[in-house]
């Protein structure tokens, strides 16, 4: 009986997934290669053909350096499958920095939009283009309508969108919208690096990352290291991000025990 019920549930889940994917059965995902995070994500990896939201806390909301670096690392395997487009409003993205992280700048087309609406329109246009695999956009907020439009554009050709949230300098914070159509939302902050024993200077860049929302998956928090950054071997590793530690256990464990007690 219970076996029958779970099978029915499985079938229903598959049906819903097919509906959500807009009728396309081949919704792919990009695994990190570490089950501690892949298990949290639907399909065992970063869902492709969707769009993802990244932001940084505090001053990073204006500079958006860590989220941009993390987005480039997330998308580095995608950039080998097709062209990438990066839409900025403030022209301070620097290609040598991306090259150092292992993102191939020769596959990147940079577009400087004049305002928020234009940036979103360009993103939408690029996502729906054949031959584009990843589209980055630096915008302040994506409301529900814009998010839904991005999602439809993603589904057209299976491109993946990365929205790096960034406030224009000196602007006041906009009130955050109620919902979002993004597949995942990541809060990205830089974390202190740890050079190997006996070495001077900085270690490989580290990021403290919280997966705040994840459609069809679980949230969590992790510490990542860009293990191949700033070396010639960057292009050879399977995924440029290496999971160093699971931060979620430490932070979420008390909350879970509370709930269990209640």
């Amino acid at each position: 009986m219970s076996d029958f019920r779970s099978r029915g549930l499985e079938a229903l889940k598959a049906k819903i997934a097919a509906l959500e994917a807009g009728g396309r059965a081949d919704s792919e995902s990009l695994p990190f290669g570490d089950e501690r995070i892949d298990d949290c994500l639907p399909g065992g990896g970063l869902p492709l053909g969707r769009w993802h939201e990244l932001y940084g806390p505090g001053l990073e909301m204006e500079t958006a350096a860590a989220p941009a670096a993390f987005a480039a690392l997330l998308a580095a395997p995608l950039a080998r499958r097709g062209e990438a487009v990066w839409v900025v409003r403030r022209d301070d993205l620097w290609a040598p920095g991306l090259a150092g992280l292992g993102f191939p700048p020769e596959r990147l087309i940079q577009v400087c939009a004049r305002d928020e609406a234009e940036a979103l329109a360009v993103m939408e246009d690029a996502l729906a283009t054949v031959g584009v695999s990843a589209v980055f956009g630096e915008v302040e907020t994506v409301d529900l309508t814009a998010g839904r439009r991005l999602q439809l554009a993603c589904e057209k050709m299976g491109a993946t969108g990365f929205v790096v949230r960034r406030r224009p300098y000196g602007g006041t914070a906009k009130r955050e919208g109620a919902g979002s159509a993004s597949a995942t939302r990541w809060r990205v902050a830089s974390a202190p690096s740890e050079p190997a024993a006996g070495e001077f200077g900085l270690g490989d860049p580290r990021f403290a990352v919280t997966l705040e929302r994840c459609r069809g998956g679980r949230t969590g928090a992790w510490l990542f290291e860009a293990s191949g950054a700033y070396s010639w071997e960057t292009t050879d590793v399977a995924h440029p991000l290496r999971l160093v530690a699971d931060l979620g256990d430490r932070q979420l464990a008390p909350a879970q025990s509370d709930r269990a007690a209640a």
């Binding site: 350096a65 620097w94 040598p96 700048p105 020769e106 690029a126 584009v132 902050a189 900085l202 070396s231």
Partner: protein, 495 residues
């Protein structure tokens, strides 16, 4: 084709002249027909002229305005031929080779041209000949409206004075002083002594007029044989009509491009208004193309800027950067292996034409040690892939580079070249826990004058990480000097 030397002001018989300063003296720059009839001439001193004609009206000459007017006229002439060259100060050359048939022949074209110029109040002397030199000579010294038969310009210019060869006035005066009053006499002289006596320039001008040597004209826009033209019986002005004729004229040209296996990177549609103004609208393609529907779609949003005024009676289109394009085979599995022409090229075209060409680019390495100069911008789609070898991935570079380095305060650093222990940026104090450096980047002294090179332009870069893990790219400007506090700047963020 050449204008008359002044405006004809038929109802007023008042002599009129323009005045300019030539080496400290006030001289006439141009004279009206009436003034010319009273024996005034350009170059005459104003005092002399006023002594001869006391009621002479004068005004200041404005050479810049004249040049502007001439270039506006050149733009207008594009309706007749895509290759128009201004011949300062008061003439212009049209290369009518291959376009006369559009008007029904050279004579009809000349009549149409003269009629339209006269309607705009511009009395021009127009001639057609095989060479620019011969056409100039006939327009200035021959009969108005002369059409020299092919290879027949020699007989026509033979009776003209040597000055008709566009010689400098001294040379022309000298030739005439020696009794050579016609070009025909020059043509009979042996070439070598002629060159020795009057200079190579004289011989060159003669050869150019007779078509023995080529002459380079500076066309206002690059000449292109790829032009098409639509003329209307009734002027049009409705926006939807503009869109339709833009599409029609594009289709006309693209049909020709397709037939000859060519594609173009740049299209320019020019709307010619009834009042003589020409309104050009240009779009660019990242890859050469000839798909009329696609090109017309790029034109559509730009047509709003076209002000039809009292109506538009002629539309021309010219294609530039034309190169062979082979037809491509349709791929069976279009989604997996999409050709650039299908997806990326239209995207880049849409973006570049909507946002502006400078807002869509691909970063390319430039050989330079100065960080802000080491990234160049290339067109988003390039035929030849460029090598990316010059950015060294082992030198850590930030993801965000500020266009202007931002000053940081409250820097604690052990000198001479220890990294900072703490610094304040945007009002927040950062304590440095780890640091790398210095990496000394000097200025490119070999690119400028040796006197301008100074040690103050040297920068010592450090990559530092604060206690929270934020990574910064800081530099100290100049060499260490114990008498002066060091200046620190933040140039980028690693994230």
């Amino acid at each position: 084709m050449e204008p008359g030397s002044g405006r004809d002001d038929s109802d007023k018989a008042c002599p009129f002249a323009l005045v300019e300063n030539v080496r400290g003296a006030r001289r006439l720059a141009a004279v009206s027909l009436e003034a010319a009839r009273l024996r005034l001439w350009p170059g005459q001193k104003v005092t002399d002229a006023v002594a001869v004609v006391p009621d002479l009206l004068t005004a200041e000459a404005e050479p810049e305005k004249d040049a502007e007017a001439l270039s506006a006229l050149v733009d207008w002439c594009v309706r007749f031929s895509p290759a128009v060259a201004a011949d300062a100060p008061d003439g212009l050359f049209l290369d009518v080779g291959g376009v006369a048939h559009l008007f029904g022949g050279e004579a009809e074209m000349l009549a149409d041209f003269q009629g339209r110029l006269a309607a705009n109040g511009l009395p021009f002397r127009c001639t057609i000949a095989d060479t620019p030199g011969a056409a100039w000579a006939l327009a200035h010294y021959g009969a108005d409206g002369t059409i020299a038969p092919p290879a027949g310009q020699g007989e026509l210019i033979a009776p003209l004075p040597p000055a008709a060869l566009r010689l400098d006035p001294d040379a022309a005066a000298q030739i005439e002083r020696l009794g050579l009053r016609r070009i025909g006499q020059l043509m009979e002289l042996p070439r070598a002594p002629l060159a020795r006596r009057f200079g190579q320039a004289t011989l060159d001008r003669l050869d150019q007029a007779l078509g023995r040597t080529k002459e380079a004209l500076t066309f206002r826009r690059p000449p292109t044989p790829w032009v098409a033209r639509l003329a209307f019986f009734e002027p049009i002005s409705a926006p939807e009509d503009l869109a339709r004729v833009a599409h029609d004229v594009t289709a006309k040209l693209c049909e020709r491009l397709e037939r000859e296996g060519q594609g173009a990177r740049k299209f320019e549609v020019c709307f010619h208004r009834v009042d003589g103004k020409a309104l050009p609208v240009a779009v660019g393609l990242s890859l050469p193309g000839r798909d009329a529907a696609r090109v017309a779609k790029l034109f559509a949003p730009k047509l709003e800027t076209v002000d039809p005024g009292f109506g538009i009676d002629v539309v021309t289109i010219a294609a530039f950067e034309v190169e062979p394009v082979s037809g491509r085979q349709v791929k069976l599995d279009a989604r997996k292996d999409a050709a650039v022409e299908d997806g990326l090229a239209p995207l880049v075209d849409r973006l570049a034409n909507r946002l502006g060409e400078d807002r869509v680019w691909r970063a390319v390495p430039v050989e330079s040690h100065v960080p802000e100069l080491s990234v160049g911008r290339a067109p988003a789609l390039n035929d030849k892939p460029c090598d990316q070898s010059s950015w060294d991935p082992e030198a850590p570079r930030p993801v965000r580079l500020f266009r202007r380095p931002e000053p940081v305060e409250d820097v604690l650093a052990l000198t001479p070249d220890d990294p900072p222990r703490q610094f304040r940026w945007r009002g927040r104090l950062h304590r440095v826990s780890r640091a790398e450096g210095p990496e000394r980047l000097g200025e490119e002294w070999w690119k400028r004058e040796i006197e301008e090179v100074s040690a103050a332009h040297v920068r010592d870069y450090y990559r530092v990480e604060d206690a929270d893990g934020q990574r910064f790219w800081l530099f100290r400007a100049g060499l260490y000097d114990p008498r002066e506090p060091a200046k620190w700047w933040l140039h980028g963020l690693f994230g």
